[in-house]
């Protein structure tokens, strides 16, 4: 039993923490609004090999595991870096074309199947992606088309866009069922980025309440403030462990089990869904408390916490209401609802 990162993963974490700290301070996220994409940052990220890191070496990629992607995704989340690393890394594993592996073309996935009219709705990174992979009817398709370059104005300043599953260079790359694994990988990696947001929000909140004084003392010396912040490390650490366990489950050769009666769950898709819901709730709660303890300044645009607050919600809600995800999770855990 080993609940920590390997030495290689610790090195990976250090490298990407340093990268995002230097290349993506909060001013970069702020400066990228409203589109939420910084091309120069994406190009610098690609020089690290990150774009194709999760693609097997035989296909020209870095051979990284899902656990490795999770490590990088958390660092991205801490920096709220405006680059579609998670979507691209997952898409690249589905469709490792050379220009996707090197990041010269941006790839993403549609989280929902195309509608009857062939539209994929509000695709994450859809505003900037050159390649969109998703389900259309019974097929898994990859469509190359010109990205719109603009996103509808949205809560998280995220580069969302509707994309067509039909217009453009369309290639059938599998059947609809082949997408399930990718969706679970997206859930795990997104969960990691959300935990990164939560961790950063906690650090920002603690730093603020130590420096802001009222009534002659730091605001952080009031017990009400302390107690609300004290709930966050357990949620963040617990969420991180759940994400790590999900990634580990996704790497096991044999299928896992799903036994909620005995709290024995090693099935990848189940754990991925759990990790996603928990991380979404944790990020929403942590950013909410951190913003609140900034007082009025937390509500102002000038302070950074509102950037984290909006992304905690946007990066998760792009999938669906977490409550509806819980209903799908209930079907996995308990079997479908009996009529």
């Amino acid at each position: 039993m080993e609940l920590g990162l390997s030495e290689d993963q610790e090195a990976l974490q250090e490298v990407f923490r340093a990268f995002f700290t230097k290349e993506a301070p909060p001013s970069v996220a702020r400066g990228s609004e409203p589109l939420g994409f910084d091309r120069a940052l994406w190009e610098r990220l690609c020089t690290t090999g990150a774009a194709g890191m999760g693609v097997p070496e035989a296909a020209g990629g870095g051979g990284a595991t899902l656990s490795d992607l999770v490590v990088v995704a958390e660092e991205l989340g801490r920096a709220i870096a405006p680059v579609p690393f998670v979507e691209h890394a997952v898409a690249a594993r589905l469709h490792p074309a050379a220009d996707v592996v090197d990041g010269s073309s941006i790839a993403t996935i549609s989280l929902r199947p195309a509608g009857a009219d062939g539209t994929w709705s509000l695709v994450p990174a859809g505003a900037v992606a050159d390649v969109v992979i998703g389900v259309d009817g019974a097929d898994l398709v990859a469509v190359r088309s010109t990205p719109p370059g603009a996103a509808p104005r949205n809560h998280a300043a995220a580069p969302l866009a509707h994309r067509s599953a039909r217009a453009g260079e369309r290639e059938v790359i599998g059947s609809a069922g082949d997408f399930d694994r990718a969706l679970s990988e997206w859930e795990v990696a997104t969960a990691a980025s959300l935990i990164g947001i939560a961790a950063a929000a906690l650090d920002i909140g603690v730093a603020y309440v130590m420096t802001r004084h009222q009534f002659g003392v730091p605001v952080g010396s009031f017990q009400a403030v302390q107690h609300a912040l004290a709930d966050l490390p357990g949620n963040i650490d617990g969420g991180r462990l759940l994400i790590y366990k999900s990634a580990w489950a996704g790497e096991q050769p044999a299928p896992g089990i799903c036994d909620p009666d005995n709290n024995d769950i090693t099935d990848f898709a189940t754990l991925a869904s759990m990790a996603f819901v928990f991380a979404a709730d944790t990020a929403a709660h942590a950013t909410d408390r951190s913003l609140h303890f900034h007082g009025g300044y937390g509500f102002s645009e000038e302070y950074d916490i509102q950037l984290f607050y909006r992304r905690a919600r946007g990066w998760a809600l792009v999938l669906d209401d977490p409550g509806r995800e819980c209903l799908r999770l209930a079907d996995r855990l308990f079997g479908p609802a009996a009529r």
């Binding site: 004290a230 580990w248 005995n262 209903l327």
Partner: protein
């Protein structure tokens, strides 16, 4: 990362599950709930017969430390009466760490054989969270100590062979520094108890110490070193020793009943059950982390605090959700026809308030996390 248990631990877990299946019968559970005594001698002796108690005692070096966590995880999942065993094993661990050879010989064999129980004498009627201010006195008289005072919440005193007793030996020293821990046989003249019924099923006790005489051989650790002994005990208690997975049987009991009535098909019920299942996985992972840290020789104090707050607060939320979903059937108790989950929902609802109180209140644990993990300034005025 590797979340699989080593093969010898999986083997241990399977054997444990067999013992539990055989010995935690409906009759045992029924007796626990009728008497309010959360202890089963048959179960303890069955575990002892296979050497499992010896392997579980922290610091004795006779088993994998991860097994301590597995033992209580499995007992908790089965809703077995393990509470007395948990306290006893913890006290055995403290004795293994700081006890004299004579003390180890006195207390450990009976515990390892599953035949003796130990209870905790820390809190007093006037001092709970502020345990460092306790007033039970141990005064030197010749070559003996004479102990006078009273303790509260001394659960299992009515069946225990041993009490680990926190006393004040030097009132002139700052409060944390004048404390001494004693390890006393419960049949020492002068020790008595009275039952304290609770709104939950469990009964606890008040214990009284009237001119109790004890020799130096009964001092556990150093004279005036009692606080250090307590911190060793607390590190074992919080987050590894159980109490963090009680929502697992709650969910199991609720869901099976809800499926029999059709409630389990309702979206609100399904969403809540799924959310409780998530919290159960996270609570176990946090507990597992503490166990993993302890197994590598670290003292997971803050991690234990985080685990305890997370697990107990979420257990209370789960109880609230499920009792409400059950409607009036959630009010009915064991053996009443129509009771939700045969009465388990009412049981959990009456039990849950104590979980954010005992073993360190949520507030004390949050103070610890805020001050020592987040580095925020201490909020209480320092007391001499």
């Amino acid at each position: 990362m590797d979340f699989a248990l080593p093969p010898h631990v999986e083997e241990y877990r399977r054997e444990l599950q067999d013992i539990i299946a055989t010995h935690v019968t409906d009759e045992v559970i029924d007796r626990q709930h009728r008497s309010g005594t959360f202890s089963s001698p048959e179960l303890n002796q069955a575990l002892a017969a296979r050497g499992f108690l010896e392997r579980a005692i922290p610091g004795l070096g006779r088993g994998d430390p991860i097994e301590l966590w597995v033992l209580f995880n499995e007992l908790e999942k089965a809703a077995a009466p393990y509470d007395a065993l948990a306290t006893t094993i913890m006290i055995a661990g403290v004795v293994a760490h700081v006890g004299t050879e004579w003390q180890k010989e006195q207390i450990l064999p009976g515990i390892i054989a599953g035949e003796s129980i130990a209870c905790l004498g820390y809190s007093e009627p006037d001092y709970g969270s502020d345990v460092a201010s306790i007033v039970t006195r141990a005064v030197r008289d010749g070559d003996q100590w004479v102990i006078n005072g009273a303790k509260m919440w001394t659960t299992m005193a009515h069946e225990a062979d041993w009490v680990i007793l926190l006393t004040r030996t030097d009132p002139d020293l700052p409060k944390h520094r004048g404390l001494t821990m004693f390890l006393l046989p419960m049949d020492t003249p002068g020790i008595s108890f009275e039952p304290v019924p609770t709104m939950g099923t469990e009964r606890t006790n008040a214990t009284f110490y009237d001119d109790v005489r004890a020799g130096d051989e009964r001092v556990l650790g150093e004279v005036n070193g009692g606080w250090r002994v307590m911190t060793v005990a607390l590190a074992f208690e919080r987050g590894v020793m159980g109490g963090t997975n009680v929502a697992v049987p709650l969910l199991r009991h609720f869901r099976h009943w809800a499926e029999s009535t059709g409630l389990a098909a309702e979206p609100v019920a399904r969403e809540r059950m799924a959310r409780v299942a998530i919290d159960n996985v996270v609570a176990t992972l946090l507990t597992q982390r503490s166990a993993w840290m302890a197994a590598s020789g670290q003292l997971p104090g803050l991690e234990g605090s985080m685990t305890k707050v997370f697990a107990s607060e979420n257990y209370q939320k789960a109880v609230r959700w499920f009792q409400q979903l059950a409607g009036p059937a959630g009010l009915l108790q064991f053996h009443e026809p129509g009771a939700a989950a045969e009465g388990w929902i009412d049981y959990d609802a009456r039990h849950s308030p104590v979980t954010t109180i005992y073993g360190g209140t949520s507030e004390i644990n949050r103070n610890n996390i805020a001050e020592r993990h987040l580095g925020l300034p201490r909020t209480r005025k320092a007391q001499p």
